[in-house]
Symmetry: C2
Subunit: 251 residues, 2 copies
């Protein structure tokens, strides 16, 4: 589907709480949608535990393989916040206090009469060569180093950080999509959909059963760069549903 | 935290729709909680696209590394349902029609006056040597082969399949947890929490900021096998919060 020129990305979601079922991840869907809107193909996401060797090796694998790697989680002040340490290790660089990050944190703490203790100031440590990512929510910055962007795990903070990262990313060819919602079972249209996929090689066709209170609903989705082909396939998908005795519904 | 004897697991969530942001995954949190309850450590989850080479290599990497691998998605009747094909490829075995799966599907379709077309009957293809996993929701079975369990992506069907898989899995040492909800910032208790972690080496201590309408809430969580240590640390965590001028809240 994506042309050769599409930038690619991987996501590394770091945190035991995501794997234990304690926390429902919301960062993958947010970043997937925002990257797609910029023409960047999110190719893979990995959810890993707070284990240094796993964080380091996953990061090194992914940053060699994709245009961008985004990490979430593990940049707070507590003992299990080890992402910055692991990123520094992965790049083989030191993790000094970053003067600008320190300045921002000290000003923020002073204003709020919060003690700038050693744990809080850990959040000013940035791998050598890293660039700050502003955090308008709670000040403690994320950072980027080469093609890796390190963000907070709390969705509201992560989203604010990504807003600041986004303009620095390459823009890929825009992938548009059309969607036709129907009430047919997948087995009913599978052959016709397969045939349409053969006709529209430049598009990606898929079908996604959805839960609905109105009875069975399956979304037929086409994606690609060719807007004229998308318009045509949208009409063909609708006709396919009607030909097979189904109905088209509003999404 | 987990003893040497803990079985481990990885999760392979297959589907473009999870990476594009179209579908919010719910399978990771469900399986993470259920595996933890059985004493199986979910060590990693990967979300990957419907690309055969990626599915095959991810599966081969993970099945060599963990006690169990669970996959979700891609076992329906449409052209982009390629998980069974990829699993057969990964194991180097054929993908014939499984007589029992065929029998179940034919009976189900006949009862409902549904045409057993070629696409629907693709769902009876099971890798050579595979064992069926019953699907009480929509009949088309999942399957297991060696240490790999292949399930549907639709949460309701996946959950029903997992209910059938669960009794066949090893039982690991039970990991219990205690949680103390407080209103302190992480930077306030980080040093004290670090000190407690040093005291309770047999436990895993973590802190998780949560969104709340009542103001700041952070969950202090301890996990481990030693119930007496967990009771003790629960009291110590509460005392820590009070010593630091915080309040303990109901979760």
């Amino acid at each position: 589907m994506a042309s050769e020129a599409s930038p690619t990305a991987a996501l590394l979601l770091i945190g035991n709480e995501l794997l234990s079922g304690r926390t429902q991840d919301k960062n993958l869907a947010f970043l997937g949608a925002r990257l797609a809107a910029r023409g960047i193909v999110l190719a893979e996401a990995r959810v890993i535990a707070d284990v240094p060797s796993v964080i380091i090796s996953s990061l090194n694998t992914l940053r060699a393989q994709f245009t961008y790697v985004f990490t979430t989680g593990g940049i707070g002040p507590t003992h299990d916040d080890i992402t910055a340490d692991c990123v520094a290790d992965a790049f083989g660089v030191d993790l000094p206090i970053h003067p600008e990050a320190e300045k921002r944190l000290l000003a923020y703490f002073e204003e709020r009469n919060i003690e700038p203790n050693a744990d809080r100031m850990r959040m000013a440590r940035i791998p050598e060569g890293g660039t700050l990512v502003d955090n308008p929510v709670s000040i403690a910055p994320g950072f980027s180093i080469e093609n890796v962007f390190v963000m907070a795990g709390v969705p509201r903070i992560m989203q604010a950080m990504f807003d600041n990262i986004e303009p620095t990313l390459a823009v890929g060819p825009k992938i548009d999509s059309v969607s036709v919602l129907c009430d047919l079972g997948e087995g009913t249209f599978a052959a016709a959909l397969r045939e349409l996929q053969t006709q529209y090689k430049e598009l990606d066709l898929g079908s996604y059963p959805m839960s609905s209170e109105q009875g069975r609903r399956v979304a037929l989705v086409a994606k690609g760069q060719d807007k004229i082909a998308l318009q045509k396939v949208s009409a063909d998908l609708t006709q396919m549903v009607l030909n097979l005795g189904g109905q088209v519904h509003q999404e």
